[in-house]
Symmetry: C2
């Protein structure tokens, strides 16, 4: 029996596995995790709107009815292309056809050490870690009497103004201005500074300029300050060093989030070494018109890990591209086993969407571009539609409706290990008001005085 091994259960890998259900092939889907993650909504987990379980679906559940498909939890570390074997961290697995769909991660532009201070948003653990960081900063600020440190705790920086960065910054704006509005006694969350940095001259640089302008306006309305034409030259636990038109600068911040750059997953490099495939600058594998590696017709690379040129430009690393490529490869292998052929892959762009916090989004459908409420509703519907699992759709829909009506975000849990909290000290000259130090009622007097925070 012809065996197709798929590495990676993201959008591309999963579509390929499903498409092979009516083929004569056996499918083994390998993933490090036991679930498919709906990454476009990961930022909502990071900002306390959704729970991890809401945007994840067990891979075994998805493929349970497909009896010729097995799911294998494990990590592929190498590929023996001559003997057609995937080398796992513990064992190996033969294949007849191989589909590599292990995606991308963020790039720290040659400074991997920045990741410790400025986490990116790729996994569930990243999301709950970022959620902890954001919420913990408000908790620490509430205890902090020193005005300078309080200001640094209430400064949130998002690096990278692509769709993820814009969505993260917009959500941070909603949290500070709406969700947490009445939650604290010593600080006013509305005084938080939310900065969105990018080296490009506009937000959403891959979108048409008119939509960038629209998004920027929405962001500013949410309390986000875009800082453009600005390069990050250093990141540490206390803030970041930047370089912009007016020279070098420093931003003191305890919460720097990274949403910039693209670096292909390591299997790209492995494939290149084993097959001689060429990589682009981000480490993505340059593939043929049928998504195979030149000279290796049984090895396919799809999704964010693939560099596929169409009309002279590489396709963007978005879910629809990965899904169409997954379905294409599934069809191609099915056809091969039947002895028929399929034409080259071609991506059909159905449009791009990015949301900017509450009730605002931008949509680019090529022939028509729009923003505002209608774009937001479109965004909601498209994302609900693609979310895997009926229960997830219903729960996410409910949580969105609830958040829209009440501004509340239910999943605001600080879990895991935290750094030490600021010392509680009696207020001295020039210090901030801390409600539980004073024996006055926290509702009266100077409580929440914004003096040193603005």
């Amino acid at each position: 029996m012809h065996r197709v091994v798929i590495i990676g259960g993201g959008f591309g890998g999963l579509q390929a596995a499903k498409m092979l259900s009516r083929s004569a092939a056996q499918v083994v889907l390998i993933d490090r995790r036991n679930f498919h993650l709906f990454q476009p909504l990961l930022y909502q987990v990071a900002t306390g709107g959704l729970s991890p379980g809401d945007i994840a679906s067990p891979l075994r559940s998805i493929l349970r009815k497909q009896k010729d498909a097995a799911v294998l939890m494990g990590t592929a570390v190498d590929i023996d292309v001559d003997n057609r074997k995937v080398i796992l961290e513990n064992g190996e697995l033969e294949y007849d056809s191989l589909i590599v769909a292990t995606g991308c991660t963020h790039s720290y532009f040659g400074h991997p050490e920045w990741e410790l201070s400025a986490p990116g948003l790729k996994t569930i653990e990243d999301a709950t870690g970022i959620r902890r960081k954001i919420l913990f900063a408000f908790e620490a600020a509430e205890r902090e009497a020193n005005p300078e440190r309080r200001r640094a705790l209430l400064t949130f920086v998002v690096v990278g103004a692509g769709p993820t960065g814009v969505e993260l910054a917009g959500s941070l704006g909603s949290i500070a201005n709406d969700t947490l509005k009445d939650d604290f006694r010593s600080i006013r969350p509305q005084e938080a500074r939310i900065l969105l940095l990018d080296a490009a001259p506009r937000v959403l640089p891959t979108y048409p300029p008119e939509l960038s302008a629209r998004a920027e306006k929405s962001l500013i309305a949410l309390g986000v300050r875009p800082i453009l034409n600005c390069t990050v030259v250093g990141v540490d636990d206390e803030g970041l060093d930047i370089e912009n038109g007016s020279g070098p600068g420093r931003i003191a911040s305890h919460t720097v989030l990274w949403a910039a750059g693209v670096a292909a997953s390591e299997l790209g490099g492995v494939l290149s070494k084993r097959t001689g495939a060429l990589l682009d600058k981000a480490g993505r594998v340059i593939v043929e018109s049928d998504l195979t590696i030149p000279g290796w017709p049984e090895i396919f690379v799809i999704g964010d890990l693939a560099h596929f040129e169409q009309d002279g430009k590489p396709l963007p690393g978005v879910a629809p591209v990965a899904m169409q490529q997954g379905r294409y490869v599934g069809k191609l292998i099915t056809a091969r086993l039947k002895g028929t052929r399929v034409p080259s892959f071609r991506y059909l762009n159905k449009g791009n969407l990015a949301t900017i916090g509450r009730a605002s989004a931008v949509a680019d459908f090529g022939f028509v571009r729009f923003g505002g409420h209608f774009a937001w509703i479109t965004w909601l519907l498209v994302h609900l539609m693609y979310l895997v699992g009926f229960q997830n759709r219903l729960v996410v829909f409910l949580k969105w409706a609830y958040e829209y009506l009440t501004f509340n975000r239910g999943a605001r849990l600080i879990t895991g290990e935290n750094p030490p909290l600021p010392r509680i000290v009696p207020p001295g000259p020039g210090s901030c008001e801390v409600a539980y130090i004073s024996r006055r009622s926290p509702a009266s007097g100077e409580t929440g005085k914004p003096a040193a925070v603005s």
Copy 2:
């Protein structure tokens, strides 16, 4: 302004804080976490039915409207009772009245090292850790070719047959027999052995014998094997050593869960040292008829940390006791500030409920005892009613309805760090079938053959 400091935002502390909303006092609620946790449903997070966010509610949200109440995230490490100060891990806080409500944890009967191999279920992290352990055991078994190791991976032991142990074991039965039924290709989850151990001669030993018998029958129907009159004498990562009527024995298991014993939180010992208060054997503080410490009328101990005798018996460590005590202390302090008095605390027992997996429960309302479907519906309604937050109620209700109809559990995520997975080796003589080693179709032939697992 009179300041009431409450340590612990569980059922007792939260009710006390709410009850003080109409008093002349200022309230500071201290908790290590930023959320109130609905602990009675924690086992459903551990078994993949609910997400952490579904059973947790941010403390600040709950008290946001109560302007004279502040929430402080922090850990109380000591109490300076003479100067009326709570000593935090970083700073200190004065009080006029103090309510200590820091609860209990499990007791490992003098063997704290067992906790590493047999985690208890008290925090969100415990729950996601146990969820990982359970699901990972099935994943590892699917890869394991050695029949003995596979059998140990598919053996789940719950120590302690009180309500938590019964609920955990019942859920494990549902997972193995229903939820995961079609999910694997090499193992049959139905072959999993689920053992429920207790030193007592019956399950739910604090319930009337007729309900214990009923619960035992339901458990057996779910595939759980109760092993009673059985003492645990050793626990390690490979299994546990037991002692029962027929002498010592050994159970090989990779998943031992602990739901036995009660140990008061450390603040009980601290209070005893500082005030001379007496502790019971579990370390709980023995309190007066008004829940104060003898000789310290401004210090209250409530909930699981308090040992309160009523009709010659200590009250059980359940949520309704803690809630009624919290409300009582809130009322008492309010009355004191007005110069009036309240009678001694008296617990009004509205009944006990325990659920045993799908559509089965036992209820003991004193005057009436029953089990089965009706007890289960009662259990559902009572738990939904006490769950904090409208959104949580709706989402939990929906997830329960969905699970009831489809047997599916949506939150089956393996997150965090895992131990190494078993090596994938070609099957030898006497080894188990592993679907992705064989090039046969996993749907055909010997796949899922239970031979070595039963």
